[in-house]
């Protein structure tokens, strides 16, 4: 197929709400299988940009393709070919593990046979087979996280969007989640992730930092640290984000 095309490609993507420009001419590419960290201060425009990439909102101007589909004219196709997981668990506590997976698989239009195949393989990989009949509200937070990730990727999307997936999670579970991300990426899935934990920025292949609607820095963590002559992404973030003028 179009194996050399980037997974995400946007040019001059802009979103205005009245006379407020939330996202102001951002341009970037994300390669296939890449782990791309999308950082920024609160109010910088990350969520607005992410909504456009997921086909949930249209740009005021500019253009982009996600998974090979146009973000304006093919937003429904985008929704079918991506996965999305937010910080608030998007799982149903009163349903069992397998029922949650079945629900998401049917939302993504999978047939029963491919669901059975995918779910048994993934549950086994994550050592969750024994838990498949447990109610989600009763399982520990670490398992809920794995399950939320499974629900977002059960249909083998080309790209998965993770919106602060590790907020508030204990330090051990948080690290296990990142190993899951690495596994998905090494299997070829593109991972687009936001986080406020700057140690997690170090685990990304490349990182962008949004400030007041613009992307003010974009590179590999090592290159950014070298450019700003500091030893951690935390310091890079502070230097780049300190120029923020938005009220937040």
């Amino acid at each position: 197929m179009e194996n050399n095309n980037p997974a995400i490609s946007v040019r001059d993507l802009t979103k205005k709400f009245g006379n407020f420009t939330a996202v102001d001419h951002i341009s970037f590419d994300v390669g296939k299988g890449e782990i791309f960290g999308f950082l920024g201060a609160n109010g910088a425009g990350k969520t607005t940009a992410m909504r456009m990439l997921c086909g949930l909102s249209f740009p005021t101007s500019g253009q982009g393709q996600v998974a090979g589909y146009d973000i304006v004219s093919q937003s429904e196709d985008i929704k079918r070919h991506i996965g999305y997981m937010s910080q608030k668990f998007s799982l149903y506590g009163e349903l069992t593990v397998i029922e949650n997976l079945r629900l998401f698989s049917s939302i993504y239009g999978m047939n029963r046979q491919s669901f059975r195949h995918a779910s048994s393989r993934l549950l086994e990989e994550l050592e969750m087979t024994d838990m498949q009949n447990a109610l989600v509200k009763d399982i520990p937070v670490g398992w809920k996280q794995k399950l939320a990730f499974l629900s977002a990727t059960i249909h083998s999307p080309e790209i998965v969007f993770l919106d602060e997936p590790t907020g508030g999670v204990d330090p051990v579970t948080r690290r296990k989640f990142w190993e899951l991300i690495y596994k998905a990426s090494s299997d070829g899935m593109t991972v687009f992730v936001t986080t406020h934990y700057l140690d997690e920025a170090e685990y990304c292949n490349r990182v962008s930092i949004m400030v007041d609607g613009h992307i003010n820095a974009l590179d590999a963590p090592a290159a950014l640290k070298q450019r700003y002559n500091v030893s951690s992404m935390d310091e890079v973030f502070r230097i780049v984000a300190k120029d923020s003028t938005r009220s937040d």
Partner: protein, 304 residues
Amino acid sequence: MNKAIEISEVSKSYGYIHALDRVNFTVEQGELFGLIGPDGAGKSSLYRIIATLSAPDSGTATVNGMDVVRDYRKLRKRIGYMPEKFSLYQDMTVAENMAFFSSLFGVSAKENYDLIAPIFSQLEKFPDRMAGALSGGMKQKLALSCALIHRPEVLLLDEPTTGVDAVSRSEFWDMLATLREKGITILVSTSYMDEATRCERIAMINNGRILAVDTPSALINRLDENLYNAVATDMFGLLSRLRSNPDVIDCYTFGATLHVVGNDNFSAGQVEEALKKTGMEDVRIYHATGTIEDLFIKQIRDGK
């Protein structure tokens, strides 16, 4: 003088979930005290008890010597509580929310203005804005102003920095340090381990139990481990190689490096040489300084 907060053998269950299991700690007058732990650790359950909104199943809790169950009416005037979820009236303006909370506590916003001025000054520009239409950071400042309007003796802040970016988080902690200088006792909870060092003392909490209480530096000194940094170009390859080493107790990612916990036989030099011989030419293993996060990981590893 009474302790600002005294928690003694407090337990609380919701159905079969043990939210709090015999919790004990005290907060001194004027202290900036942190409650550090992940979501689901029991932090909010404890806050609701201290804020007199729910009673413990067993054990006692007092604030400035007053019991949270028996003396709840008196206490409510003396504490300021900012819950994790934004709980001001979204369809009232900034000025209306301030007026509402002032009249609730029978004070005028003017008399305690000196206390809230550093926080509220940025909000004064838009008194007629609906609270629901404020940005996240501004909502937080308004909520804090409303919690301070009656000049409480003890300020209870439940996860004020969750979902807040690193720069704004650091500004928020500067603000707390200023309030502390004015003599207000502050109990603040967080799931960000790096914020522990901004507190005078902390209690680490997980699964409803207090794991340890002390100053951040004393806690880090307690971390009695052979801790090393390890780096190489192929970080995840290095991670699995180190984990399969019998002398490695634990190995986990730690930002730009891996942290390696070795047993008494672990020799950084030898392990580094062995890895170099098998193709990881750029590997480096060197001493690491522990953090509260390392201590937390150790406690979870030890099943505490």
